[in-house]
């Protein structure tokens, strides 16, 4: 009991120490201007974030990015899963869908973003780019998950007289969940990148809008505040989806 506990405390302490050292270094580098004006002390960034007059700005940016993130994430996730299921159930389509998703993923977002702005609109572009990233990750994860059912289990359902659909519902799908869950986790930062790049190309508001304009206008604390918020969003999602991943892995493996 005590061994386990002290191990946990140790990990926690060391981890906080690590993060603390990093934050301390950030502050020192900023205070001493070791990296120039572009690297402000952490306290300066936090001070800006703590300025009530700026809260509504941050809140609107955050809300816009989160909305795009949620919409894009869900669309990408669902379409990725559907495409992977389709590929799994129709083997003749699989190779083509694999390739197509790889190609779509490989098209530089900076080339897609302007097109999306024109034809989907500047409001929808961040979500659309996020959806594309998430689509790829969830397609790949779901495909490999669906294909991960051990042969003996497939044989079992066959011998029990199960149909292709029975096998899909009772076997392939549950077996795919752990891999899908890790995919969902990896997809969160990817989706946020999609949102931010989408916002760079002319969105009316969002964290990415703040980032790119603060950069152009040399508003350093604002730039870092927006980046910090983006990191916090990403970290929170990453953490929450990590819990999901953990649960699914325990439940389905």
């Amino acid at each position: 009991m005590s061994v386990v506990l002290s191990e946990r405390i140790r990990t926690l302490l060391l981890g906080s120490l690590g993060v603390g050292i990093f934050l301390g270094l950030w502050e020192v580098v900023g205070r001493l201007r070791l990296l120039g004006l572009s690297w402000p002390p952490l306290t300066e960034v936090l001070a800006l974030l703590g300025t009530p007059a700026r809260w509504s700005l941050f809140a609107r940016a955050l809300a816009a990015s989160l909305e795009a993130l949620t919409v894009g994430y869900l669309i990408g996730l669902i379409s990725g899963i559907i495409a992977a299921a389709l590929a799994h159930l129709t083997p003749s389509l699989k190779l083509g869908l694999d390739r197509t998703s790889a190609v779509i993923h490989a098209i530089p977002s900076i080339a897609l973003a302007p097109l999306f702005i024109l034809f989907l609109g500047r409001n929808a572009t961040p979500a659309a780019l996020a959806a594309l990233s998430v689509f790829f990750v969830s397609y790949v994860a779901t495909s490999s998950g669906l294909g991960s059912v051990p042969r003996p289990l497939q044989d079992l359902v066959h011998v029990l007289g199960g149909t292709r659909l029975t096998q899909f519902v009772r076997l392939d799908l549950p077996a795919a969940l752990p891999v899908l869950a890790s995919g969902m986790r990896l997809a969160a930062p990817a989706a946020l990148i999609g949102v931010i790049v989408g916002e760079w190309f002319g969105a009316p508001r969002g964290l990415g809008v703040l980032v790119i304009n603060a950069m152009q206008n040399f508003q350093i604390p604002l730039l870092w505040s927006a980046v910090l918020l983006a990191v916090l969003v990403s970290l929170t999602l990453f953490g929450l989806l990590g819990l999901l991943q953990h649960y699914v892995a325990r439940r389905f493996r």
């Binding site: 051990p150 003996p152 289990l153 044989d155 079992l156 359902v157 066959h158 011998v159 029990l160 007289g161 199960g162 029975t166 009772r170 076997l171 549950p174 077996a175 969940l177 439940r251 389905f252 493996r253």
Partner: protein
């Protein structure tokens, strides 16, 4: 609770007239390896099981025992020759959910608990789950109290017992058992043998059992077929002389030990393996 209280599966009673027999006739089975080489697992293999017969297969590792079971389960098709169950292609039996199997790797679904794993055949067959029968079978294999446990929380032997309960749950017409007791300690194994014996005596399911244990084969089977090394051919057939019902005591009888030694002799082949 004894197995006799278990109602036979509903679809069965009407089928008694057509209770199956298994026929493997002149079957050759070749496998292709990744590197293009071919392996002949079985050559001109023939064997038959009558209705309600219990046959055990003995033979050295890699001689094709599992392959025979997989052919009967329609998981493989023969390279040449015919496999029939009751005069029909074996796939039909599976499709009608009348086949019970427990293979070497127990193949439990890791995300289902013991009860759900045992109940799986009901779900696959689209039948309502007979909860009482599920818990009776779990008790029978000595796992009462573990209904909610998931496979990774069980020892190897406990997992095998779950697989056996699952094989029996639909009261199948044909039972295929591939080393079902391999992971059990001697005592549990013996007790499982006794239970299986009793279940079989009551339901007389046509059964094909693969085992490495000579005494197990002798205790359970009506007939024992000894196969040669790969490619598997029948080198010896033994009608087991013990009357049924058999009591565990026969395993200590002089006759039993003698037959054991005899079968062991028949099996003796060089240990050297070649590619």
């Amino acid at each position: 609770m004894r197995i006799s209280t278990l109602a036979p599966h509903s679809s069965r009673s009407s089928d008694t007239a057509t209770a199956p027999s298994i026929r493997v006739s002149e079957v050759t089975k070749q496998f292709q390896l990744d590197d293009g080489r071919e392996i002949q697992a079985l050559r001109d293999m023939s064997l038959e099981l009558g209705q309600s017969e219990f046959v055990a297969l003995l033979g050295p590792s890699g001689c094709g025992k599992s392959t025979i079971l997989r052919l009967v389960a329609s998981l493989e098709s023969p390279t040449s020759g015919v496999v029939e169950v009751n005069g029909r292609p074996p796939a039909e039996l599976a499709r009608q959910h009348r086949l019970g199997v427990a293979f070497q790797d127990h193949a439990l679904l890791p995300w289902l608990d013991v009860a759900a794993n045992v109940a799986l055949p009901y779900k696959v067959a689209g039948l309502p789950v007979d909860v009482k029968r599920v818990s009776e079978l779990i008790r029978l294999v000595g796992l009462a109290g573990f209904e909610r446990a998931r496979p990774k929380q069980l020892s190897g032997g406990m997992r095998q017992r779950v697989a056996i309960a699952r094989a029996l749950i639909l009261a199948p017409d044909v039972l295929l058992l591939d080393e079902p007791f391999g992971a059990l300690d001697a005592v549990t194994r013996r007790q499982m043998n006794i239970e299986l014996q009793r279940i079989w005596s009551e339901q007389r399911i046509t059964t094909l059992l693969v085992t490495h244990a000579v005494d197990e084969a002798l205790f359970l089977a009506d007939r024992i077929i000894v196969l040669s090394g790969r490619p598997g051919r029948v080198i010896r057939t033994l009608e087991v002389p013990f009357a049924r019902p058999r009591h565990a005591d026969i395993m200590r009888s002089e006759a039993f030990h003698r037959l054991c030694d005899e079968l062991t002799d028949a099996l003796e082949t060089p240990v050297e393996e070649t590619l």
